[in-house]
């Protein structure tokens, strides 16, 4: 298993290189640049701006420069400065030298911030929201799916699946403002927008204080974001469980006289989870790295909007940073999923 994980992590580097080349090529191929303005900037100003960000170098040099900054660790005796060009995610002093790694570069749009600042300040909030939304999705979706499968073709099944179809077909862009309006504006039970945690975070990503002041902000967006995924999970759970309970080994278990509860939980459910776990990997990566619509509706200062605004702004370092971050999350989440497979189904072995 250890060798398998090591191999997969090496494979991550290859994935990141490929993703970075494609993203880099695409974003430079798109017409328009970071300094296109409604009021066109004078040519001299654009020259000065291009020089500052090395955008006047040939593309392959720009790419090599980027890879060098982001992927290759640096050992240097020069102490870090306050320059935005000089912000490394990992920067530790070992004896007389500095070990510095991962400089994602400055944002062209926010002139006093770097992509690393965005990771440090905004990613934890998206991760908090995404994790809670995922919990909501599981807590609503799984019981609904199990209930529907066990009581197939009864009123409970129809009800569960109606809720699932409702969840899939009512997007956040409808549900979000609706929740804001009912519970924020009309009833005033919850704050309509905002987020209850701010830097610095515990362990870099947890809110420093849990409590009502945190959760009152999180309830509506977590539900709005989680409901859609809960529907997907409910339907997958139902379909998979329906298939499993018709397997021979379930009949055997029943014939042995096991209690129905044990049959379902230990034999049927565990074996039917594989499709659900499969979807959880990408779902986790998508929810945790931020969701544009939910964050905009609820005014949450997360990462999600940077996936979209960086592209409209042609903010090259932010585009690269967000895409690579997403790729890392996706690959690692899928790796975890594969490891969980082996636990769920002992027949799966990777060595």
């Amino acid at each position: 298993m250890g060798r398998y994980i090591a191999r997969r992590l090496l494979y991550l580097i290859v994935v990141l290189l490929v993703v970075s080349i494609i993203t880099f090529g695409l974003m430079h191929a798109v017409p328009g640049g970071p300094f296109s303005r409604e009021k066109a900037l004078p040519e001299e100003t654009i020259k000065v701006l291009n020089a500052r960000y090395h955008l006047d170098d040939p593309l392959y040099l720009q790419y090599l420069h980027y890879v060098n900054n982001v992927m290759i660790p640096h050992l240097t005796t020069v102490p870090p400065t306050n320059s935005l060009m000089d912000d490394y995610l990992v920067s530790v002093k070992i004896g007389p030298v500095w070990f510095r790694w991962m400089n994602f570069g400055p944002s062209y749009k926010s002139r006093s911030r770097t992509v690393n600042d965005i990771f440090r300040d905004n990613l934890p909030i998206s991760a908090q929201l995404g994790t809670m939304a995922l919990l909501v999705a599981l807590v609503i979706g799984m019981p609904l799916g199990i209930m529907a499968a066990l009581k197939q073709n009864t009123i409970l099944d129809y009800f569960g699946m109606s809720v699932a179809i409702f969840g899939v077909s009512v997007p956040v862009i409808v549900l979000g403002p609706l929740l804001v309006w009912i519970f924020g504006v009309a009833l005033k039970w919850l704050p309509p927008t905002g987020w209850g945690a701010k830097p610095p975070y515990t362990f870099g990503f947890l809110p420093s204080k849990f409590g009502w002041d945190f959760f009152k902000f999180a309830i509506m967006p977590s539900i709005a974001l989680g409901l859609g995924s809960s529907a997907v999970i409910a339907r997958l759970t139902r379909a998979s469980l329906l298939q499993t309970i018709r397997e021979d080994y379930i009949r055997t278990a029943r014939a042995k006289g096991l209690k129905e509860r044990i049959i379902i939980v230990r034999h049927a459910l565990k074996n039917s989870l594989i499709p659900v776990v499969t979807i959880l990997g990408p779902l986790f990566a998508a929810l945790v790295t931020g969701t544009f619509v939910t964050e905009t509706i609820f005014g949450i200062p997360g990462m999600g909007k940077y996936f979209v605004t960086s592209i409209t702004n042609r903010d090259y370092p932010v585009i690269m940073g967000t895409i690579l971050l997403y790729a890392v999350f996706l690959v690692i989440a899928n790796l975890v999923v594969d490891i969980v497979y082996a636990y769920l189904d002992p027949r799966i072995r990777y060595d």
Partner: protein, 596 residues
């Protein structure tokens, strides 16, 4: 598990009810049902600090650094924290004293203009120390660091320094002697730039040519002091470089200073008690201004929930706000100095004939568009330079200037062209391009219909993503008809008509050989002459007259653009807020008050 069903079921039912009802009915029902259950109650404010809650707009404030600011939210914060040499009144656009209490102008023999500014000597730099606003001391700790002429010179220097890569340095390059050469790296000697520090409280700026707007530009954010010791460091201050505007490092001297900035989320300005106050820039009356960074719809929800004291009204809510007995009283539609227009590529087929352009422009029912599509009380634009700018004609003085909705004349103009070229209206191949946005789409569709109804022409609509679009309409393949808007940098007609449409203007670019390279692709020698003359004209009445002539050429004689509407801002403000309405879009919160 039953609980989940209950919650889910309730959501289903709630959504169905809401979908079926008119929004107004729901307001009443839900409020009535919810009233006994309100948990969050803000206690009656005791005589604590006065706090104002407002919204800055979606996304993080890009910067608080006057040297690199270019957008509305950044400049809004800078306007309250750094004061310029001169000040433009946010409502009247008249020039007022800022840090300079008086100034005098001399025209030099070589045709340049030198303005000597006399600064006030009682303004210290301040910072937020985590608990209170304190003055910044000199290194020996003996005295406050005062804002001096050197700080102004440094601010201008930093803005023009190529390494700073200031997006708006060109405003200075345009007017200040030697600034362009320093900014584009031809010389590294700042002494060649027309900035002279006479003593701590006197600074002389030399401008390329006398102009009505020189003193205005000298007061803009591009020429504001910056704390050199924080940026570059000195004996008692650590150098913070480009991070000097972050919380904890930030220093300023205006009526407010920044105490907290949670990126992408909120920013807090606190009153600076050391700002001495003057007639044009009084001491702040509100102790703290809390900014959120929400998109318009979310901000409006917060306003309705009582958490914001002022907000913009989203287009979708305007009708409801106008009909609501409470909100309609809090609604104010104020002018905003921007113009929305359609430009013509005067070299493209069909629209290269002025009669076609005139016909298209005259066939637009601007009032109808405003009443039925825009709904924000905008004003039909008859020309480009928005009334309210210095030098711009106004509807009172020039009611018949420019272009108006005139279907008969439009038809006549087009028929002449059609007869001459032997075509029918539906044979004309015309394309209107705009950047992808539902707002622009609605306007374009309405105007497309007007053109069809009045002239019988079928205009194709094409849209492109913003940055792609900008490349298209400023390049050789500029479509026949395209849309843009323009807002002020400084409130003078020069910033509109000349900087946009004169040769090499923003929407009339030229290539290296001086040939038209995009936008309107237009040159009219008489127009060039008039706008040049108007820039240096000192008699205000004559200036307006010159600009009126130029506008007539732009929108009627040559019909290079079809002006569509002049912007307004649709806002709601709680009744206890006493405020001003800035025509430039940068609110001056130190002039606001709360009276609960």
């Amino acid at each position: 598990m039953r609980k989940f069903y209950v919650i889910a079921g309730l959501l289903v039912i709630a959504s169905m009810v809401l979908a079926a009802c008119q929004p107004k009915t729901v307001v009443e029902t839900v409020i009535v049902e919810g009233e006994p259950q309100i948990i969050e109650v803000t206690p009656e404010a005791p005589a604590g600090p006065k706090v104002l809650n407002v919204n800055l707009g979606p996304g993080d404030v890009p910067t608080l650094d006057p040297a690199v600011a270019e957008d509305t939210s950044s400049i809004t914060i800078i306007e309250s924290t750094f004061i310029g040499l001169t000040q433009i009144n946010e409502e009247t656009s008249l020039l007022e004293p800022g840090m300079a209490t008086e100034w005098e102008s001399v025209i030099n023999e070589d045709g340049t203009e030198t303005i000597t500014f006399h600064l006030r000597n009682d303004v210290p730099w301040v910072r937020w120390n985590g608990e209170a606003v304190e003055t910044v001391k000199t290194c020996d700790g003996a005295a406050d660091r005062m804002v001096t002429a050197n700080d102004f010179a440094y601010g201008i220097y930093r803005n023009l320094l190529p390494a700073t890569a200031s997006p708006y340095g060109y405003l200075l390059s345009m007017v200040l002697k030697g600034a362009a050469e320093f900014n584009n790296g031809e010389t590294e000697d700042f002494a060649t730039v027309g900035v002279e520090v006479v003593d701590d409280y006197t600074i002389k700026l030399t401008f390329l040519a006398p102009a009505a707007y020189n003193a205005q530009i000298a007061g803009l954010w591009v020429a504001r002091p910056q704390p050199k010791w924080v940026i570059e460091g000195d004996d008692c201050t650590e150098a913070r470089g480009e991070r000097w505007t972050e919380p904890g490092f930030f220093q300023s001297y205006g009526p407010y200073t920044m105490s907290e900035w949670i990126h992408d989320s909120s920013l807090v300005l606190v009153k600076n008690p050391f700002w001495p106050g003057s007639d044009s820039i009084p001491q702040a009356k509100i102790d703290e201004v809390h900014f959120t960074m929400l998109d318009e719809q979310a901000a409006f929800a917060e306003y309705e929930a009582g958490n914001l004291d002022a907000a913009g009204v989203p287009l979708a809510d305007i009708d409801r706000v106008k009909a609501d007995p409470v909100l309609s009283k809090e609604l104010v539609i104020a002018p905003n100095l921007c113009t929305y227009y359609y430009g013509f590529n005067t070299t493209a087929p069909v629209v290269n004939d002025v009669r076609v352009r005139r016909a298209l422009s005259m066939a637009i029912d601007r009032q109808g568009l405003i009443d039925n599509v825009l709904k924000g009380g905008q004003e039909p634009a008859q020309w480009f330079s928005r009334p309210g700018l210095a030098g711009a004609p106004t509807m009172e003085t020039h009611p018949d200037l420019g272009v108006k909705y005139n279907p008969e004349e439009a038809k006549k103009q087009l028929d002449e062209y059609l007869a001459e070229t032997g075509q029918t209206a539906d044979q004309l191949d015309l394309t209107l391009m705009f950047n992808t946005s539902s707002g622009h789409q609605k306007i374009a569709e309405a105007i497309q219909q007007m053109w069809k109804d009045t002239l019988g022409v079928n205009v194709k609509l094409v849209n492109q993503e913003w940055a792609v679009y900008l490349d298209t309409i400023k390049g050789k393949d500029t479509p026949q008809i395209w849309r843009l808007g323009w807002c002020l940098d400084y409130p003078d007609a020069n910033n509109f008509i000349r900087e946009v449409f004169a040769v090499n203007g923003s929407s009339n670019p030229v290539d290296a050989n001086g040939n038209p390279a995009g936008g309107v692709m237009w040159k009219n020698d008489k127009f060039e002459e008039i706008v040049k003359q108007a820039a240096v004209e000192t008699d205000p009445a004559k200036r307006v007259d010159l600009y009126a002539q130029a506008e007539n050429i732009l929108v009627m004689e040559d019909a290079v653009i079809a002006p569509i509407y002049w912007y307004t801002r649709v806002t709601v403000t709680k009744p206890y807020v006493i405020r001003t309405f800035s025509v430039g879009g940068h609110e001056l919160y130190y002039k606001w008050d709360i009276n609960k």
